[in-house]
Subunit: 322 residues, 2 copies
């Protein structure tokens, strides 16, 4: 088993034992349903690897790892309400399987449990760790607020978008890496390097998500491509294409924005525009740049097994197809 | 100005300066609206008084006080969504003035800001303070879950109700007093006494709320009496009356439960039942018992000005008419 898979298994085992309560049932039944929902567990594994990369142990970072994963699930439960999403990872969302009230409360409790987990960390840096964690929560909320604002705002630039995903996605990856470094008692340069690594990897991850939504192989992706277009989401590709398209292509893009989406049969046409305007190539270049920068940050760290896994992880993001 | 009012003024001033951000506007505009909404600020003042009662300063407890008040407002914003409440303290609720998505996100951010504030506390006990705070959040969520479960559960006992208000209301008052004691570096007996003080005061406060809803003078209360009856809320009085009523009174009470409420013109009749079954007197006795117990806890503390204010505060709860 690879180091990544070992850490993931450790995390899954810890998460499964974490919640002992069972009443009130209306709270704990859906809450356990969420935590058992799987997922890639990227954030906690990065947190543990970061701790190892500065000389700490993965086990000392396990509770904080669980915390960051629970926190991530809190954002998913509440975002799914706001986005009217009926399924996630092939299962019904909480507000669909139960109701909105239950989902609000389950999200709230998840956030509290995330704090409970992070506060169990034994570290002289605990106050700073908890503060870093909190800064992450604040920015995730801000990122989600921007994301919702963009749905109804017509003038959104690529830079607006980058600010939004920095807050909504990259910050929490960066926080995970930084907390791992703090638990490992890293020197300031090590903390900074891992924070920046997380930042670049997080940005690359989100832009890759946007790219795959339209460019992936449907079977590999495991869902229909073009979902962002149908919903009229202001992705990196759409905003880049809007910036450079001229003539009838520009008109079609403006139509998509005005209509807040398109019918599925228009997807191939927009895909063509993304390719011909260079928006897709621009996304690929941006991903590559962020991944290269993330790897440069890693080179400031001593060469260890964990550092090698973090490098492999960045490369995997660059080449992932789902 | 009394010590209570001085602490309240200190808190208001701190809260007003707390949030410097203004964008994303969809997040910070409603968030500031909530924090400026006033209220009795009971929890933060109790926290500061508790700190003083064990020899600390009110100022050292100010950030934690702000934290507990922000946390309280988080629960109000989310509860108001779940309860479909359109107004609070004479102003529109967030999900009414904006929308449910905004209210979910504003509540989430308030919870994060509450943690940010409590984590600014300078204390060797910071990890325990943050853990105590978190235990409070978990129990508030559990209490709200029970409260919502009770709406559709027909068999609810007075003891079920007491467990629910212990979690939903009393716990956070108790946490406020305990955190004040922790910031004041109290000895274990002092921490325990103040925690228990908060517990009893919190229970008394909630039962008094139930009592005032039906027994208060409408003008003093500032809102229509009998709201709990109209909504069919399972209050201390309703559950006590259900336990002891016989004959036609019992039938009327069961009707109220089955119909999940009654029309406003039935209020005087239920009021009569609450009096004749002794439910109102039972509530008064329970409130008095909790207040007496809270005062006994205070007598374990050294006699100081803060201790006297905490005693006055308990008595004020006993005699409040709104």
């Amino acid at each position: 088993m690879s180091r990544y898979d070992r850490h993931k298994a450790l995390l899954e085992e810890h998460l499964a034992r974490l919640v002992k309560e069972s009443v009130p049932r209306s709270l704990y039944e859906p809450l356990k349903y969420v935590l058992a929902g799987g997922g890639k567990r990227i954030r906690p594994v990065l947190l543990m690897l970061s701790c190892e990369a500065v000389g700490g142990t993965a086990r000392s970072a396990l509770r904080a790892g669980a915390a960051i994963e629970i926190l991530h699930n809190f954002t998913l439960v509440h975002d799914d309400i706001m986005d009217n999403a009926s399924s996630r990872r092939g299962r019904k969302t909480v507000h669909t399987k139960w109701d909105t009230n239950v989902a609000i409360l389950v999200g709230d409790e998840l956030l509290a449990l995330a704090y409970r987990a992070v506060l169990q960390t034994k570290s002289p840096n605990i106050q700073r760790i908890a503060k870093t964690f909190t800064d992450g929560v604040v920015e995730v909320c801000e990122g989600q607020a921007y994301d919702k604002e963009f749905e109804t705002r017509s003038a959104v630039t690529v830079n607006d978008y980058l600010l939004m995903i920095e807050k909504k996605t990259a910050k929490m990856v960066s926080v995970a890496a930084e907390i791992g470094a703090l638990i490992g008692n890293a020197a300031p340069e090590g903390i900074r390097a891992l924070r920046q690594y997380g930042h670049h990897v997080g940005l690359a991850f989100q832009i890759q998500d946007d790219l795959l939504d339209i460019m992936a192989n449907e079977e590999e992706l495991g869902k229909k491509i073009g979902g962002d277009l149908v919903e009229g989401k202001k992705t990196f590709l759409l905003l880049e294409a809007l910036r450079t398209a001229r003539g009838s292509d520009r008109k079609l893009l403006r139509e998509l924005v005005a209509n807040k989406g398109c019918s599925p049969d228009r997807i191939p046409e927009y895909r063509r525009i993304y390719i011909e305007t260079g928006a897709a190539a621009s996304a690929r270049r941006r991903i590559e740049r962020e991944i290269n920068r993330s790897k440069q940050e890693l080179h400031r760290l001593p060469s260890t097994g964990a550092q090698a896994v973090l490098e492999w992880f960045a490369d995997m993001l660059l080449h992932r197809t789902y």
